[in-house]
Symmetry: C2
Subunit: 356 residues, 2 copies
């Protein structure tokens, strides 16, 4: 039987969830709550059942699931109240602005035996899944570097995302995705250190971009970058291995990967390049490189909601595990610390293992 | 009257100098010395006067200039011997493998009143000069990030560049260029810190690539990167300013720059992107961006040699100043230190001023 869901927060992300949920027959959108009167009126106009208070949502025994899509600083109290009232909870990312707040949520979830899952929706991005497939299948040899660069040119939107207290800024908005995915990709690999640098070029109180470099024990580096004043985009993904390189330029999936044929340093002839002469940087215009198209992947972000229902029903383990989300939050604390102090943060014995 | 130059080291870079010097009427190539018999025979075959020993070069009073294009670990002794014998010296980069060795050279130059100049030839690269022009003219607004990325896919050449003792590796081969140029570009700006990471993915004893991040007091970041196992190239230059972005893809000067028209965050409409929804990363497909071609610059690396002769004759100040080269060497020491310890190195009161 379908489960009844109430959306809390009828904003951009909230309406996006409603669109997705139309394809999820396991869930029925039962109603909406928003603290803002105009948004409640809009929801009613669009035909949704609108509650007259959050307490009404909690008291309604028909409601199985509460989906939280409110500003980041309000997630915790809503989640705790909902679970105490017996509801299961889906929560937008970033789940909270501190690991302590998240632990408080998890303690309540455990006490009341409720399912609590964070919407790490960008694990379903096709470009990420293509990278994961190529890396996992060893198509590039030993991968020594993964760059994930997300660049916009529209600054930070005119809303709560510009304010620190509400959890604004690009680290909370995007690094939670980029970090989460890299940690999934490097599952069971020791993380050695993190270096982070935040940008404040647009003059807001929150970061408008970041550069995060993670060193892993196997020698791999992940470089995660976001910018909001980039009028030319760098490739979104760039993956370098000892025998191949992969590039995905954008969300529209332009790109491909190449493989080396034969020996790396064979037959190198120096070339003129600018005001200099170079052997090392001589291009390959020969047949020593094979070009491939990006691999096929299938992805349906609606599986997130289906998995949540199956978790509630005891049929599946959660796809987004709370300990994974906790690692991300822990490292985000270190990212802020690294950026503020201009220091590398080292991890002692930090093994990422999605099976713990 | 033209000055007589003897080339020491008839290898790749040495022959490159000879080609360039054909266009420099202020200098006559007087002869060659190389410790390797086969190379001396080759030079003789090509019609050059070949000395029978280095001592003969030193004793020959017709020789005004010695040009050193030997492996990096041999520069110092040759330079000192040449200046003691009254010759002026042009030296390949990196000048030495330590600041102390370079200071020893400078002490001899001062004592014997000889001109000593390091061939920082890549200051004449057109792509660099284009970046410098656009940045200096403020075409991109306040520039907050400059990336200079040089990538090859041929590993390290099969020669002394693979060995530590001889000053091999990509930091000595390329970072001396990239760093030198950024320091020229940021002349008179305080350098705050450096973070460096060297790659050893190809299994040599020397680094096969690096990532260096410099933070400047005005908020700008420089990211300098070299790789030798990159089968797809990232843009060689990427310059981000608050109102524009510039990209130069390669030595062949493909690229351009764009400028924002109007307000950064105006009229942002969310878009579907992958498995998510984003306002921040919505592309600009409208008329709010103007595209420009790369600017015209003129560059003649032969000016390096002409300037050297004019310096000897007291007509010009040197274009490549030894204190500039010393800063680069000092920071290279810090780069090795940062990479080895995985720590950020901070500078107290480090102001780069090319006029000191």
């Amino acid at each position: 039987m379908s489960k009844n869901l109430v959306l809390i927060g009828f904003g951009g992300m909230g309406t996006r969830h409603l669109t997705r949920l139309r394809k999820v027959e396991e869930i029925t959108v039962y109603g909406i709550w928003d603290t803002n009167l105009a948004k409640r009126q809009l929801a009613r106009k669009k035909g949704y059942k609108v509650f007259t208070s959050f307490e009404q949502v909690l008291e309604n025994s028909n409601v199985d699931i509460v989906l939280i899509a409110t500003p980041n600083d309000t997630h915790k109290q809503i989640a705790i109240d909902a679970m105490r009232a017996g509801k299961h909870v889906i929560c937008e990312k970033p789940v909270t602005l501190s690991t302590k707040d998240f632990q408080d949520i998890l303690d309540v979830a455990q006490k009341y035996h409720r399912c609590f899952m964070v919407d790490q929706n960008r694990r379903w991005d096709e470009n990420y899944l293509m990278v994961k497939k190529i890396v996992d299948e060893g198509k590039l040899g030993k991968v020594y570097e993964i760059r994930n660069t997300v660049q916009g040119s529209r600054g930070i939107p005119h809303d709560w995302r510009r304010f620190k207290k509400q959890g604004g800024g690009m680290v909370y908005d995007w690094c939670v995705h980029l970090l989460d995915r890299i940690l999934m990709l490097k599952s069971r690999t020791q993380l050695i250190s993190v270096y982070a640098d935040l940008s404040y070029v647009l003059g807001h109180e929150v970061d408008d971009g970041f550069r995060v470099i993670l060193r892993f024990a196997d020698g791999m580096r992940a470089i995660l970058e976001v910018g909001t004043a980039n009028f030319i985009k760098l490739p979104e993904w760039y993956v370098a291995g000892t025998t191949g390189t992969m590039e995905i330029k954008d969300f529209e999936l332009h790109g491909g990967y190449v493989n080396l044929v034969g020996e790396l340093a064979k037959d190198t002839i120096p070339v003129e390049a600018g005001a200099g002469f170079t052997k090392t940087m001589a291009p390959r215009n020969d047949n020593s490189i094979i070009h491939h198209e990006l691999p096929n992947v299938t992805s349906d972000v609606c599986d997130f909601y289906r998995n949540f229902v199956n978790w509630i029903d005891g049929k599946e383990a959660p796809l987004v595990k709370n300990n994974e989300v906790m690692w991300t939050l822990e490292i985000i604390d270190d990212i802020f610390k690294s950026a503020k102090t201009d220091q590398v943060i080292h991890f002692a014995d930090y093994i990422i293992n999605s099976n713990t």
